[in-house]
Symmetry: C2
């Protein structure tokens, strides 16, 4: 792959998790072997990566090559089509790494007709940045990562519910990063009561995710720590019509049937493109059993908890044949001090 | 570390698992920068590493340096003391990597008095080869590795007991190697019935471990596959006085109280220095809860099994405070195709 296309992909990776229901995209404008413009799609509704890079390049874009991690759009969405801008700025060649499978794609033709050379140079890394986005867009549901911290024997707590802290500081830091890379973090009432967590991103200039709380009964204590931060929106899904609050950052969403699928569709419509599920065994198991997730991240602490397994991270009423259980591809395995991080992709 | 001392340690590693209640030891005799003799302790009762290397070197040992992974012995055990042989062959310098803490050690003095220079050059890798041996010797019990194959959520089977095959072929191959490196493999009646395993080492020129079966009730079916191989000894521990067999390779050991501690002491007296526990959740949990092990090896298959967790690999009647649960050091983490091997050492 051209180093410039790689730069475009790297730019896309930098903004991963801040583009909501839009994909992360990066672009680089190159003229006579020098970068004359850089861009990335920073936020939903904001300029596309190509436009950022072209505006930075200004006159220098004339006769230049633009490298984009994703095929430039040819449609009017929240912004005008990028192909028009590319033509307008006098670009002579477009190189991109991934085809946008969600659009009726005629960008190549439009650019060719304008006398611009187009090169599709497939890149796996760029594709992975977009694949979950394509899927999410098709399904109208967020890309979902389920995060689990547990013991070697798969438990999130001992039988008495004691759970803090199973994993170590490095894991905590890594989770802050995970939160930063997602639009929203979802949990349940039980976890709030057990751990009283804040679900913030304690990294420098980190972005706090929207907090999503599931509580069918609506039996919520608004004095919990999660409600103390008034700057980050909180969405509460409940089947309890009577639940209300005066807290300005809290929005209560009543649903007659608050099943996961309904909630996910609603979250996507509200702009949540990437969702992190950071909950106890009940919600975690529900998401896994319903196959409503793309990635599973497990942090294993090097200990065994034993007991009856009341808080094993995955338990189900159904018993599955081994030939039918959920399988994963191990994408990455990494030591965080003496803890282990496993990144898994649903097969 | 000197490269020759490293060679001695490497020789020790080659014979790890075939020396029973003796430690694996390697030795190299070096004269004028050339290796003139190599040796390793091959089997209990056989010559020590130093003697093998000296005999290979013959006259060339005169004035040479001998590198040994473990301090040479100065006592009469099953063989005469190595220090005598070293003096007899006219060695002028001894370099060793680990002190033998189980012996009243006067080797240095004896060698010095004979005009031989002695250098103790500590090596961590060599120490790890011996540490478990030292502990085992002190306790009069084997070094124990508990092996577990399970799903990401810590289960060895689904609730119906279905367990074959959770892990993949590479794991199987790795387990053959594990068996080869242990004197005996221990399992329980339930596993025999569920899986009908053979517990052989299907690697080229591999060594089959002694098979140890625990069955309090003595309710054993001698038609199981494990009994078809007549060349490898099988020890059955039972509290059933009436249990008998005519199979020549099977020895039935009656114990009034067949608790793990008693069994382990008996196994050690029978020459089992390294024991691999390859059993179902009940026996696995008993060993872990009793802290009767040195290493835990977990093979994780990238799947989640769910259910109620009837066959989670570690469950106990006791509930432990998180501050009191068993902790581990992660010694190694390795991918075996799409499975993960975790090597853990009890903390």
């Amino acid at each position: 792959m051209s180093q410039f296309l790689k730069h475009a992909v790297d730019l896309a990776k930098m903004v991963e998790g801040q583009t909501g229901v839009n994909p992360p995209v990066g672009a680089v404008v190159v003229k006579n072997g020098r970068i004359v413009g850089l861009g990335a799609h920073l936020q939903r509704g904001d300029k596309h990566a190509e436009v950022q890079a072209l505006e930075m390049a200004q006159d220098k874009a004339k006769g230049a090559t633009i490298y984009v991690s994703l095929e430039p759009c040819s449609h009017y969405g929240t912004t005008p089509p990028c192909v028009e801008k590319i033509i307008e700025y006098g670009i002579s060649k477009v190189v991109y790494a991934v085809k946008d499978t969600t659009l009726m794609s005629d960008s190549d033709d439009i650019l060719n007709e304008a006398g611009i050379e187009v090169e599709f140079s497939y890149n796996e890394e760029a594709a992975q940045l977009c694949n979950d986005f394509f899927k999410a867009k098709k399904n109208g549901k967020p890309e979902i990562t389920v995060k689990v911290s547990c013991s070697l024997d798969g438990k999130q707590a001992n039988d008495n519910g004691q759970s803090q802290w199973i994993t170590n500081r490095s894991v905590k830091q890594d989770v802050f990063n995970l939160r930063h890379k997602h639009d929203a973090v979802l949990t349940g009432r039980e976890t709030l009561i057990a751990d009283d967590p804040q679900y913030t991103t304690r990294i420098e200039n980190g972005k706090n995710p929207v907090k999503v709380i599931l509580t069918r009964t609506g039996d919520i204590d608004f004095n919990l720590k999660i409600f103390s931060d008034e700057t980050t929106p909180i969405l509460i899904y409940t089947e309890n019509k009577a639940l209300t609050t005066t807290l300005p950052q809290v929005k209560i969403i009543y649903m007659e049937d608050s099943n996961i699928s309904n909630i996910l569709e609603d979250l996507y419509l509200r702009g949540v493109g990437k969702l992190l599920v950071e909950a106890g065994p009940t919600i975690t198991s529900t998401f896994i059993e319903a196959k409503e997730f793309n990635k599973l991240i497990i942090y294993y602490a090097p200990k065994v908890i034993g007991g009856s397994g009341k808080y094993q991270f995955y338990s189900t009423d159904n018993v599955f044949e081994l030939s039918e259980v959920q399988n994963f591809e191990i994408v990455n395995s990494r030591m965080l001090e003496n803890n282990l991080k496993l990144e898994l992709r649903k097969k």
